[in-house]
Amino acid sequence: MEEKKAQSFLEKLKAKAQAQEKYGGPVTEKEASIGTRTCPNCGAGRAKDDGLTHCAYCGFEFLQVTLTDGLHIKKEDNSRENQ
């Protein structure tokens, strides 16, 4: 009797959790992926050697910030316009 009660309580609890939408929406898990971004202004590709912040050809601003030393991104990754 006691067990049945507990089990039905649990089922209701599970159903309730299932039914309620989650704050921020459902979590979607993604696979790893790779991509590139070309300059939206002049269509040129981005080479890491030219720095990450600006387009080496037309000066378009990819990043509106000055990069500091982070995990993989380093100060040296600022394009010359930024330095």
């Binding site: 209701k12 309620q20 704050y23 921020g24 990043l63 000055t66 990069l67 500091t68 995990l71």
Partner: protein
């Protein structure tokens, strides 16, 4: 990642709490302790002014204006040296700091008429010096010239709070990053490295400042215009306005949210569904109430609101219990 992020903001994630090693507000406990002491005070300082005497206090230092800070510091030091000389065993640094705090406390009460709420306010205003921890609402953090507050990839702590606020409002990440002018690769480093700075900072100054910024993050110039996705917008929601101005309503919703979690609901979602207030706006308002409470410390008022919240939590618990067909032990009686 988003869940984790929300939890960081809510502070309800065990792992994150562990990482940040948050301190319980030491002052509230302090106040309670003093209240008890006051009952059996055997009056060893009869020559001090009686409680209730009206003193004026400097709004910045919270020292009484009837003496100078230098005089107080000198007297507190003498008192501390005496106390230190009476110790039998060698003290650790922490124990010395506690002893110093005790000396300052005793003297402050003597000089300022045994006003315990005023003492708490004094301790909060000077917490960095007394305990090593910063307190929200007292402007103790100096960002300028402190390398811990240097922007990370150009993102300042204020920007960081702004981004966090917008994300918890439900604005899509892409939209936010575009408005700030950074790409995902930059953001994901920033989002790891700001919390790392917080961990490095033993004074909890960054977290304190972050909290202060979060309260005003809705007005971030680059982000304020963004519309949230799922979450209701701030403007024109009378519930949100009431949350900001009506402390009882705020306490009620805090109690309701806790009760919702206790009954297996997503509390943040429940508040959104029933009151149209998103978590981000809710937490920003919470920061404002906390700051106001710190700045105008009144232990009986705090107790009053705590009791009210508890009572509301109980009422909502009963409602939720009813909806699920009761609690597991309703039929067991003494």
């Amino acid at each position: 990642m988003f869940k984790k992020f929300l939890n960081n903001i809510l502070g309800n994630d065990a792992d994150q709490q562990k990482q940040q090693e948050p301190v319980v507000n030491p002052f509230q406990q302090q106040a309670a302790r003093h209240d008890n002491e006051a009952d059996d005070d055997d009056n060893d300082d009869d020559n001090v002014p009686v409680q209730g005497t009206q003193y004026q206090f400097d709004p910045h230092t919270q020292h009484g204006t009837h003496y100078t800070k230098d005089a107080f510091d000198a007297a507190a030091n003498r008192h501390y040296e005496e106390m230190l000389a009476n110790q039998d065993e060698a003290l650790s640094e922490n124990e010395k700091r506690n002893l110093k705090r005790e000396a300052v406390t005793q003297l402050y009460l003597q000089w300022n008429g045994h006003n315990y709420d005023q003492l708490v306010q004094f301790e909060m205003a000077n917490s960095l010096e007394l305990t090593g921890y910063a307190t929200q609402g007292f402007n103790q953090v100096k960002e300028e010239g402190n390398p811990l507050y240097e922007p990370i990839h150009g993102i300042s702590l204020y920007d960081y709070a702004g981004i966090a606020h917008a994300m918890a409002q439900g604005v899509p990440e892409e939209t936010i990053l575009k408005a700030i002018g950074i790409e995902k690769a930059v953001w994901e480093e920033v989002n790891i490295l700001w919390p790392e700075r917080m961990k490095e900072d033993a004074s909890f100054g960054i977290m304190t400042k972050y909290g202060e910024y979060f309260a005003t993050a809705g007005q971030h110039p680059k982000l304020a215009h963004l519309k949230s996705g799922a979450a209701a917008t701030a403007e024109g929601n009378p519930n949100l306005e009431q949350l900001k101005t009506d402390r009882y309503f705020y306490e009620e919703l805090c109690g309701a949210r806790t009760a919702a979690y206790e009954y297996g609901l997503d509390g943040a979602q429940w508040i959104l569904e029933n009151f149209g207030i998103n978590l981000s706006d809710f937490q920003a308002v919470a920061m404002d109430w906390m700051t106001a409470q710190n700045q105008q410390f009144n232990s009986s008022e705090i107790q009053h609101y705590m009791d009210y919240q508890l009572q509301k939590q109980k009422e909502y618990s009963e409602k939720f219990a009813k909806e699920q067909g009761g609690n597991i032990a309703d039929d067991i009686a003494f």
